[in-house]
Symmetry: C3
Subunit: 300 residues, 3 copies
């Protein structure tokens, strides 16, 4: 493995201070701090109670941390700390730069692409995926075994993980005189803006008449259900096995925790948090945290 010098590392960090002696230090791998060897790059989470012990005992030569740990013994240990404001963010940028597997663009020959699909430059489409009459933006990655119905628009630098289905008809019916359900036709689509990431085996239904909309930078996890005509706001997060009912609007920077459910037709205000397993039957104002079944505002 290639030796990456501390100078190469530092070149990627906008602001830092150093404790210990950086001269000649390098790393060849990235590890969790308590599983490191001497050639590992590691980071210390400011949130961990045992952070001082982790720092003192790690075998790694180079440690990314913040100023909440005591770095006075680092020099004597022959190690070197890079002290930054957000060690997790800096570590993940370094890790992405040097260790993230790069995906080579291209359409796997087993993928089935509708003749009317419009696919930009630098797109990857994995094996056994099926793409309808869709628009796929530059640099997007659609892993294998996905299914995109027609009328799905995917922005730039979007990632969609395996097994995800986008653009199925929503669940809209009306009972007739015989007590049987007749189906509302779904002529809308799905619009996914730039830099969205979507997990595996997730479902995003198409809109009934308008579109379902996933806005810029939103992150959606595995096995999530997003019903017809939902809006998920910018940089909002919807985690595994969460359910968003039809026409509900999730505003920007909302955190929807796993296994929660949000009823149809309501608004979840910006910067709010829906707790794990919360069953949300009412609108949530901005910047509130709601938990429980039925969900209520969390008392501090």
């Amino acid at each position: 493995m290639r030796k990456i010098s501390i100078e190469e590392l530092i070149a990627l960090v906008p602001q830092y201070s150093i404790a210990g002696d950086p001269s000649g230090k390098y790393f060849t791998n990235i590890k969790v701090i308590n599983e490191a060897n001497q050639e590992s790059l590691v980071w210390v989470s400011p949130l961990r109670k045992d952070k001082q012990q982790l720092l003192d005992e790690t075998l790694a030569d180079i440690i990314i941390c913040d100023s909440s740990v005591d770095v006075s013994r680092v020099k004597d240990n022959g190690k070197c700390c890079l002290i930054v404001d957000n060690p997790k963010l800096i570590f993940l940028r370094i890790a992405s730069e040097f260790f993230s597997p790069k995906i080579v663009p291209g359409i796997h020959p087993s993928a089935v692409i509708h003749p009317d699909a419009v696919i930009a430059e630098g797109v990857y489409i994995g094996p056994n995926s099926s793409i309808g009459a869709c628009i796929i933006g530059a640099g997007s990655v659609i892993h294998g075994n996905c299914h995109l119905y027609s009328n799905v628009t995917v922005g730039k630098h979007v990632t969609i993980n395996a097994g995800t289905v986008i653009g199925a008809d929503g669940f809209g019916y009306s009972k007739n005189e015989q007590g049987e359900f007749e189906k509302f036709p779904h002529i809308g689509g799905v619009v996914i803006e730039d830099n969205v990431e979507i997990g595996a085996n997730t479902c995003i239904d198409k809109g009934t008449l308008g579109n379902t909309l996933i806005r810029k930078g939103a992150k959606i996890d595995n096995l999530v259900h997003i019903a017809h005509n939902v809006v998920v706001g910018q940089n909002s997060v919807v985690i595994a096995l969460a359910m968003i009912g039809g026409s509900t609007v999730i505003e920007d920077n909302v955190w929807v925790a796993p296994a929660s459910a949000i009823r149809d037709g309501i608004i979840i205000g910006a910067n709010s948090t829906v707790g794990m397993g919360a069953i949300v039957t009412k609108p949530i104002p901005v910047e509130e945290v709601w938990i429980g079944n039925p969900a209520k505002k969390m008392s501090k």
Copy 2:
């Protein structure tokens, strides 16, 4: 787009009255009422609090509504209301007739069909689907990336959305003397009756010895788990991320809301409702509404 005259529309409506002047009116598109243009056909939901305002302010020339709104100003506005008992149902029938995308029958060449499968006339099977030794009834639609194990019987005019898996072994084990699980063999199948619709990425397991049964007209949404030997009754509804435990019987016309879970081996009585996120550990009598964790009968 084709101009559809109000005469063509009226020909499809069994019973109605008219307010305003229908002469020369037509539509070329269907829209949500507050996003309409003059050439849109729209409807007003009787359940909306702002229905009068929506009616008064819409740009559409033709509006389907019921008698709960005041149509006295329609004539002066140069518009025309078709007044019916169930506007949603009438609107969806018109929409289906003129705007629903028609699926052309055929088996996509990338689909893998077991040599013993029996597939009727007018069936569509989408790309990258795998069909075992199954029977598929006339006019049914199986979208792409589905997987049907052998011994699944699908009735007529059934729709199965992408990514759905039908006929996997159920979750049945017995612990042996070493504390290891040994598996119950699953030799049953799945029977899906006519006019059933099933969402995307849903799972319906095969029966252990008998069959799992989805009865006529039932509607199942995305990411639903239906365990071995379950019965879902006629015109019952199971919405996204709901879980039905093994051998449980959902009787007719039941509404199972999203993210609910129903334990194994119980009966959910006809016309009952399981609320969103309800965790049902006991049988539910007919026509009751149960909510909460654990679920209890809702007090009025």
Copy 3:
């Protein structure tokens, strides 16, 4: 159908006693006890309240039961009971031996296999599955429409049902100065040990730096989410629509019931039970039962 004599049956049972007259008895099929015909092999569950009635009224000639039912009338009825300690286990072994469909090893031509994948003898890979640079152990079965990313190691005699996705990136991000999420690179993998069974449309994410680990004999049902770096212990069970958060450790012999959710970074002690729909936000000690939202220790 072949007649299987009671002597063939008895040869597979280590310890038993007999009531009634076994001479000349045989079976040609296996059935649920109240749906049996004379040629059926059936069993009586010791847990059923109506077990005596089921035994007395069944049409089957051969019944596997335990000593909790009264077998004194069996002889007069011309039937024969095989009395064992664990009738379910004995029945499933007989059923597996004579009736379980055998899967013929082989890789379906529509499956896409990475050139660096290492696949042992006797493996089955079904139609439209995609296998990355993985190691697949002897005798394992991967049904169709599955997707294994690279760096997944599957042990021996593992079963993975259709539509399951293993090895997608976990849900790990850090917010940057602009309030946008940057992604933690996932360079870990997934290790699945021997005799694990995994349901349909389930997701098991890869580890961030280390591995996600499913230990020997664990059983995972349909539509389960297992996040990055989780450990599922030996012979533990995770049932449909359950959610296990990142880095959480499920110890051995744990029962995770359907539709439950367990937060990230905690330990669920050995032999404990997480009840249906439980929302677990704290570690669970060994051998406890937790239920509710939020989950609490069940009082006896």
